[in-house]
Symmetry: C2
Subunit: 339 residues, 2 copies
């Protein structure tokens, strides 16, 4: 029966650059990622470049578990890099994907992940044009890790930068916070909570491209991944030298997320999101941007969550009781392998 | 003493996107990779693009051990991606680097690796402009894995492609074969052989850029990594539909490599190289190219190793005894984690 089993799993020899590597490419990667640039299978993929400003971003994805409510490591690896480009004001065009696979990983799972990546690429209008696969021994990785790198052109009208933030600007988010981090945690820890928290994992680039074309007052965007809203706001505040004032009562969090995080002693402001981003926009465009997000993009929980004030790079939370507490970067007990 | 120890190793919280991640970036990556594009630390790095044809390549590096004679995983990760671009006829400009680090990896080793990457980039004239770091638990990776992605422009004069190969073309390599694979194997397996086999790990892009400017008859180049000369020649033969005829007596292999591979029953033609590439060139330029490699680039073991004949995508080795045997892709017993 060993033979039977071997044909269903990834073996070390699938990573040696020989015959089995070739078959793996043909049977899985080329089948799902099919496009002219990838199909040439040369050492590097070649595409036509135009004059402009090009953005590039890379991320390693090591999420545990690899399948979770609302997504999987493949969808996450595509969304994560697309979203980094998107919030930088770029329109993502091409991705590369490199895989580190643990020996014994089932082909059936690999295929699901690859199909999910191909599907997410299709939705976002990007292509995977180059890749690599390595196989490591049992206990030298945990199932599969994926690194994606993306390139795209900055949208000509986009003018984003820390230095543009000024007192009076408004801070918006496109929906509820904390879902991805909590979904992963619950899936992993088997806490026995009968919840249906779904990760918000989604590509943002089509939305960001449209809003940047329409709203010239957008000054900065940031996807709220590792470290959540609080850590990311603090990083922006430190880089721009202004203060963020966020209204606790305005922060959109699903009731189920609120309930479970309270139970577990977690703060949704520090939980990772994979389809949520923060926008700093000139006050005069904030209302119309919010309406546009809610109505044209069905982002019904999009909210204005605070504003920018002169300051020294701090983030303050106006509490429901009228006080204010300072938010700092996440430190201490980490939630590892969340993305 | 636990406290003492903790400050010397990478912890899970260095990967959580919070305060310690920030410190890791500042203390290591930004310190060594310092450049204007990286320093902005935004979600994506932005560079000016020009009209032309751009090449992109990605590779994951999982080599075991991370330090070996002639290099380390950092040098290898930079050279590997630079060389993929180089043999595609591109001049590498920018790299991204993403790290998956096992909890407990010593900072001292991480620093050596990062310094080595920075040094190799300097030699090759490329910059690392974006990156990412994830930390996974003990037993979920083996020390550190690095994925690099590189971009560069195709050299305007370069015209490389499988379809250009024709009977009569000559096949060259730039030096001795098998060193990298054997160096890794000996370092890892502790076979008790008192050898000094040094990996050939080196960036090739400055050399390839120069030869492509000078020799218009160059039709194809390929770095001879995983699978070695034999597997790579077979892949090219299959893609181009011609046959390779290689002369066993002409293949450059160091005496020490020859001796040890014979002892171990290994074939240097299937061992990985990390600074060697194959060139297919029009017959009339072969002699001058060989002279140029040997004299101007001190590639004293550069050789003409065979030629191209009409055929069906096969690779033949003319043996010293006058016979011929067919070489196929590597299959069977793999040498895992060689790069």
């Amino acid at each position: 029966m060993a033979e039977e089993k071997d044909k269903d799993i990834v073996l070390l020899s699938h990573g040696d650059g020989g015959l089995l590597t070739h078959q793996l490419l043909q049977d899985f990667f080329l089948r799902y990622f099919k496009n002219d640039l990838l199909d040439s299978l040369t050492d590097a993929a070649v595409f036509s470049s135009e004059p402009g400003r090009m953005a590039i971003s890379t991320d390693a994805f090591v999420v545990d578990p690899v399948f979770f409510p609302g997504g999987d490591i493949g969808k996450l690896a595509v969304c994560g890099t697309i979203n980094d480009l998107a919030v930088s004001g770029a329109q993502p065009l091409y991705l590369t994907a490199s895989f580190v696979i643990e020996e014994g990983f089932p082909f059936a799972d690999l295929e699901k992940i690859i199909a999910s990546m191909a599907n997410t690429c299709r939705v976002a209008g990007v292509q995977i044009i180059a890749g690599d696969t390595k196989v490591v021994g049992r206990g030298q990785a945990d199932k599969v890790y994926i690194t994606t790198t993306g390139v795209g052109y900055l949208l000509p009208g986009a003018n984003l930068g820390y230095q543009r933030l000024e007192p009076g600007d408004k801070v918006l988010v496109n929906g509820c916070l904390g879902n991805h981090g909590l979904a992963i945690l619950l899936q992993r820890e088997a806490l026995g909570l009968d919840s249906q928290i779904i990760s918000d994992c989604a590509p943002l680039s089509i939305m960001t491209t449209e809003i940047l074309k329409r709203f010239k007052g957008i000054k900065l965007m940031r996807d709220l991944t590792r470290g959540g809203l609080a850590t990311n706001a603090k990083e922006i505040a430190m880089s721009s030298g202004v203060d963020f004032w966020l209204d606790e009562a305005a922060l959109p969090v699903e009731d189920s997320v609120k309930g479970i995080t309270e139970l577990l002693g977690l703060d949704p402001l520090y939980l990772a999101n994979e389809g949520k981003f923060l926008i700093v926009v000139a006050a005069e465009e904030a209302g119309e941007l919010l309406r546009y997000l809610r109505e044209d993009w069905s982002a019904e929980y999009a909210c204005q969550i605070g504003d920018i004030q002169a300051g020294k790079g701090n983030v303050y939370l106006r509490t429901a009781l009228g006080g204010a507490r300072q938010l700092n970067m996440m430190a201490g007990a980490p939630l590892p392998r969340i993305c």
